[in-house]
Symmetry: D3
Subunit: 245 residues, 6 copies
């Protein structure tokens, strides 16, 4: 039995609250167990300089944590004057993941800025960010459609993410912080509603893993992601039907 | 009538939710109208180098906004690699205000780190931060008492803050964002439960103000702050009784 | 009696030397007791990007101290790679204060850069900076008039600043460094020649202050500022007559 | 046929020159086709502050490129004043990979600093860095053994890395720059001589990939890595026999 | 005839005012024509970490200009967040020059911080800084002697600096700004009272120079420096006698 | 006899390998004894903003060392977030030296970016950089001629650099690291094939030097540079004939 009484194949309770921040074009609070992330999607009517004039859009993401999202206080990166490698790595991952399901030509010369601000962390903040930010991004695009700035939803598939890991020779889904600290193998998977991989990042720094373990982890991750996509669909209601049409 | 149908002497609706972030020693979500700030108080068992060995504690604060707390997206200060003058000014103000009601010798060689993260901004974020952070700080100190690390509450008075301003020759209490943009005079007042001033910061950049206007603003501010302190007392319940004893 | 034998209501000796730096459009050395600040005003024929095309000008200020302006050496902010919160706060204050008396439309699409470099500090450096920089700014504008780039003086009023404080329950005008270190209440006031407030910044971090004390401080500050404005007028001679006309 | 006339399952020509920089405890020039990286390993007799007193060692890596390693000149990160997300991500990957095969307790309170400086880039710089840095690290540890500072080689396994990708629906091993630019799926694999995974990082930003493609990529990667490890063994000669003993 | 009516072999008028800043252990205002630099010397009772425990002292210098020291305003290096190459180069030059005449063992474990702040620039700011800072450094050391912290003056020789250059095939001493802008060859010379070279920095970027020109420049520089050292001696009066004894 | 058995007037063995990095317009590896520097020249079809529209080109240089080029590891300047004074000083020197022999009008509105990356340091890295970078710059210009973008070689003279110094009262040519550490006087000389000085930088921080020593050093330097220019000519072969025509 896991420390929070889940089965190895069980996700934590997931809750997605839409329209969480009134100013943003799309915004959600996603809660995955005790992990809580505010995800906002901002539409900007231009693209970065290197893309201008190509008629295509862009999606970019930034991830951060408030100082006391964690057990002990983390100094602010703004105060330190630089962003850590971990933060940049996660920001880049979220951006790539979301970009993979957006038809950038349909989006037109616009940028979607996705901000994921973790207000409480209990493991899996990067995967919760992707799962939540997807919903905020759909809402922001839908706003463009409602305002007749876009004719068609530029988002092609659902996308969600979860973590899997190996603890004491058992493979487990959706690790919380305590589990994550004990895991010898830790893997993040990002997958579309078609069951295709967008990202796999697995690391066995403390203990390399075998092909068999890899296969179990991939299987477990897929199951979790399919459930997360169901939750996204329920949360989005009617709008879910616009995706990939 | 004001744009949100308040009277000139009326505060916005205020709500303070305690224990908002599970990891912090003290944490609240304060909502003042549509302004929402997460305030956490962290106890660290040491003081900055310049104070070591004096047997006294310290209180320091940092203020920030998530990028989409505002109407348009603000680039992150961590990404820009430096903290703006506005942010530093507000952080310093919050720190001074809270320090003014703490008996630093009673606190002992500990630092209280106060973090105020604005998740939605609609005017008055710095004053809401002070009012909310006070409650988080009380909870953090009370935790030290419950754990028998402190014998006595080191906080001497209640403290709260509000803004006042002059719009079209009328003095108004607790300006929201739209009002703040129109105000010719803008003043932030921080006051204790004894009715004493801790900070007055008034600026009439676009239109200098007379002594009479100043007196009206100070009067209005005091009324607002006394109501805010009542709300702090209700929120804190029994613990309120420990303050200043 | 105060440590420099002044009465509580007495300013330190003030001296303003015009044309102190030959390259600047306006420049003064202001001495307020042992506090010495070089203030220069530079005219730039453009405004910041966010203001272009509006036909209006801008006034901005930067404050700094040479490392040994103070009792012990302060490391340079250029070497540390960032500007402190205190420096930014003072720079912003000086800018706001000077802007408040300039008719930005009359100024046209120009920026007045004001630089206040403290070469010797003995308390009251920010208020001396405002008082001195005003004179440098007038000289710079007058140069534009003499060169027939401007028809009319865009400066509407005189403006000066001083500090007041409470030491051992006595209110005192124009604190020097030693007094400033002992003051329980410290207030900076910026006022126009019409007796209107442009800025009030009072802080009672170590000891909150009552309404009565506030009123005494405001009264004392006004007296000091009116004397400072007289000194500005004498210093400027004929040019003084152009202001507010 | 590939643009350099290789088969899809064929590595580029690999050459590892040991003792390339005379000052370093271990140093190699690794050439993988036209990709050339100088890898040095430096032994420092202490560990980072957070690890002191635990009797364990540490391995850390930094990756960089000279400005003209690439087709067009890249501005230096030192001149820009900050390290890019890409650079940090690669540095972290190299560090994790090398750490995974070092018994940190056998290493004792020492840090191995690994520096990978790309002098010519033609795709696969991060995987070449890992493969080459492994050899430099072995040489540095062997120097400690020869100097009788260590009794036993603290390195437990060989480790090497390669990239695989999908181009026009074909899976290919060891992508060069031109191939990398065309690949819809791009994966880096780090594996030990026991055939266990240390890292898998696959991304299908432009085109998500199926389980079948994933399996083909993993298979191809393993074949390549086993050949790279053979080259490491030949290069190291006798010293190879100390590893994992 | 030169633009300020000097002969080619003539220095500008030099004036050194001692005790210019009351807080510093040594401080001067040096005026060389219209170039004006405030030089302060601060004694700190410790040395940089890399020198601790060796019983030797250190001398270090920092150079800066106020923004409007020059014809047009230079943005502050503190605001830009980094120090320019030019500033660092000059700071290093001043430090090396002054160190060369100090017996660091006699100084003991102390650092002399020299700050040279240019308040008005008209060419030759780096050489004026060296000439003036020498006097400030002597005064600071003398203060240590007067306070019986040092038994003996640790300064071994006088040192001064000037610039020489080639303009229209004529060699000239002590270039002002206008001359400096026209010079094809520009050389700074630092020399002791014994006529020995401490630094020669000559550059003929726009026009390489011959051995003959070099010899003329060196000769001219020596003449100027010997006059500057006479001025230092007069300025220092009796204290001059302690140097090199 | 010197520590590497050279005569005092003898250069170390010099080797220049052209076309060392395939992407750059010009690139060499220069080896001067154990000092090894990769020099690349990049042509960019524009000039810095302050030069646009003048029809003239620009030459700029950046110098760096890989961390383990030296006896002990130097932290990367990119990681520290700022470039040291030493690095900037050397970069500026290399740029000035190379610029002095280029006819910027013949070059047209192009920038030549020169990068000098030291991969192994044993004294004299800045002078080796100049000597090597000259060859890379010639190759880059020659490429423009071959591609008919330039009609004529814009380089007017050969230029090379070496160091000279005084050790134990003996003047020596081309100091290696060990000698450089012992030298009381250290001088870098940059000279053209016409025997004219472009830069002289001599410092006698630990021991000022006499006119006689200076003359010996200059003489020795000239001899060394003339040999280096011969090596440049041999290395360049036919292309050498284009210079100064």
């Amino acid at each position: 039995m896991r420390n929070d009484e889940r089965k190895n194949t069980e996700l934590r309770k997931v809750n997605i609250t839409r329209d969480y921040i009134k100013h943003a074009e799309g915004s959600v609070l996603i809660e995955v167990g005790d992990t809580k992330v505010i995800c906002t999607a901002t539409i900007e009517d231009r693209v970065p300089p290197f893309m201008r004039g190509e008629g295509k859009g862009w999606v970019t993401a930034e991830y951060s944590m408030i100082p006391r999202a964690t057990h002990t206080r983390n100094p602010r990166e703004s105060t330190k004057g630089k962003v850590s490698g971990r933060t940049m790595e996660i920001s880049r991952l979220i951006g790539r993941a979301l970009r993979s399901v957006v038809d950038l030509e349909l989006l037109g010369e616009r940028t979607i800025w996705v901000d994921c601000d973790v207000i409480q962390a209990d493991g899996g903040t990067r995967t919760a960010s992707i799962t939540g930010a997807f919903v905020a991004m759909v809402d922001a695009c839908n706003k463009l459609i409602r305002e007749e700035q876009l004719e068609k939803m530029p988002i092609q598939s659902f996308i969600a993410a979860t973590s899997v890991g190996v603890i004491d020779d058992q493979t487990m889904l959706d690790l919380n912080y305590e589990e994550d600290s004990q895991a010898k193998v830790d893997m993040n998977i990002v997958m579309t509603s078609e069951g295709k991989y967008v990202e796999i990042q697995g690391t066995g720094e403390e203990s390399p893993f075998s092909e068999e373990e890899l296969n179990q982890l991939l299987h477990l991750g897929k199951q979790g992601i399919m459930q997360l996509i169901e939750i996204q669909k329920e949360t989005l209601g009617e709008i879910a039907g616009l995706i990939g049409k």
